[in-house]
Symmetry: C2
Subunit: 212 residues, 2 copies
């Protein structure tokens, strides 16, 4: 079990509150955020990263021949920065298979629903339209599908009277901001593995002393 | 607001533990179970009903020309018994549109997942195969689809280490046995309605004195 922080990179698109949560919690402790990449310039998340002294780079699709070429350039930079775990924090684009193969079992995402319910965009609006009484947050491994990879952590919140997406988002945000750092911590101490009998089932090793 | 118990009927297929929960809680109080119907003979649920002094009848498909004819005979009997709410408690068959039209907005079901995740048979096994960390129970209105009607009540249970369906079932059963009677109580006091702006969103009126 290593004592040095795990080098992680964060992929962002928007306001970057989940990036901020990582900078405020695990950064400099269990993990070190060594790179922040964005698919678009101007994301507030990039300012947060710069303010935290983290190197940033923008990979716009229009600067590359196609999505694959863009993803390849981004992967090259992230490898060069030494990232061993990639965290999608509001990153709104699918990643190509070739990109994911560069970081096997080392790309995670946070999503504002109890997957497999309500994958994709506007998860909270989808849930409200369906009329659910229980909402939640999922941290999961990223595969080529849309929010379809194995679940690492989930937390639920009963909001039986919810009707406003903003209100639900406000209620789920603190859960995201605790669940994502928790997943990074678990990953950093090597506590996250797949059940050999069902690789979709992620096993979290209990924290027991320094032995084994 | 009526003081007399709401006449309800329960449709069963199996062991009938949810029927037993209704007999032990709301029966003789907010509701009166006036009929128990089964699609198959020999269900333990029928014995529970008889032991509770409730009239029972079996509607086997083989005794009727087709499913529609069977459903019609069952609906006739349930109307005759005066049932104003039908509760599916482990009833394993889809109900025809014609049947449901006889009891508009008055057929409810309990399902061992947080719908819309894992509808249909073997919900717990489906959830374990997916690898979820949060399980739950849904009480919902029944429509022609499979577990697709509007949600009335939901309750979640975090079981991050679950691997055995029997263990999950044991954990969810007490939730079913509290959620289903709770839904019947709410229905009996007229507290369950659809949001006119989104009929999929079921509104539960708060219990406030006798006014309005």
């Amino acid at each position: 079990m290593t004592e040095s922080p795990l080098p992680i990179a964060v992929l962002v698109s928007g306001a970057g509150t989940n990036l901020q949560a990582l900078l405020d919690t695990v950064h400099g402790h269990e993990a070190e955020v060594v790179a922040v990449a964005s698919g678009a310039p101007g994301a507030l998340a990039l300012e947060r990263a710069a303010a935290g002294g983290v190197q940033t780079r923008v990979f716009e699709r229009s600067d590359h021949a196609d999505r694959e070429a863009r993803d390849e350039a981004m992967a090259d930079w992230l490898v060069e920065r030494g990232a061993r775990l990639l965290v999608l924090a509001g990153y709104m684009e699918l990643l190509s298979a070739a990109f994911l193969e560069r970081f096997p079992d080392a790309v995670i995402n946070v999503h504002p629903s109890l997957l497999p319910a309500f994958p994709g965009l506007h998860a909270i609006e989808q849930a409200l339209a369906y009329g659910v009484k229980v909402f939640g947050v999922t941290v999961h491994f990223v595969d080529e599908g849309c929010d379809s990879g194995p679940v690492i952590l989930q937390r639920s919140l009963e909001l039986p009277d919810a009707r406003d997406p903003g209100e639900v988002l406000q209620a789920l945000r603190p859960i995201e901001h605790s669940l994502l750092p928790e997943a990074v911590r678990l990953f950093a101490r090597g506590a996250v593995s797949a059940d050999p009998r069902n690789p979709r089932r992620i096993v979290i090793a209990p924290q027991v002393g320094e032995s084994s």
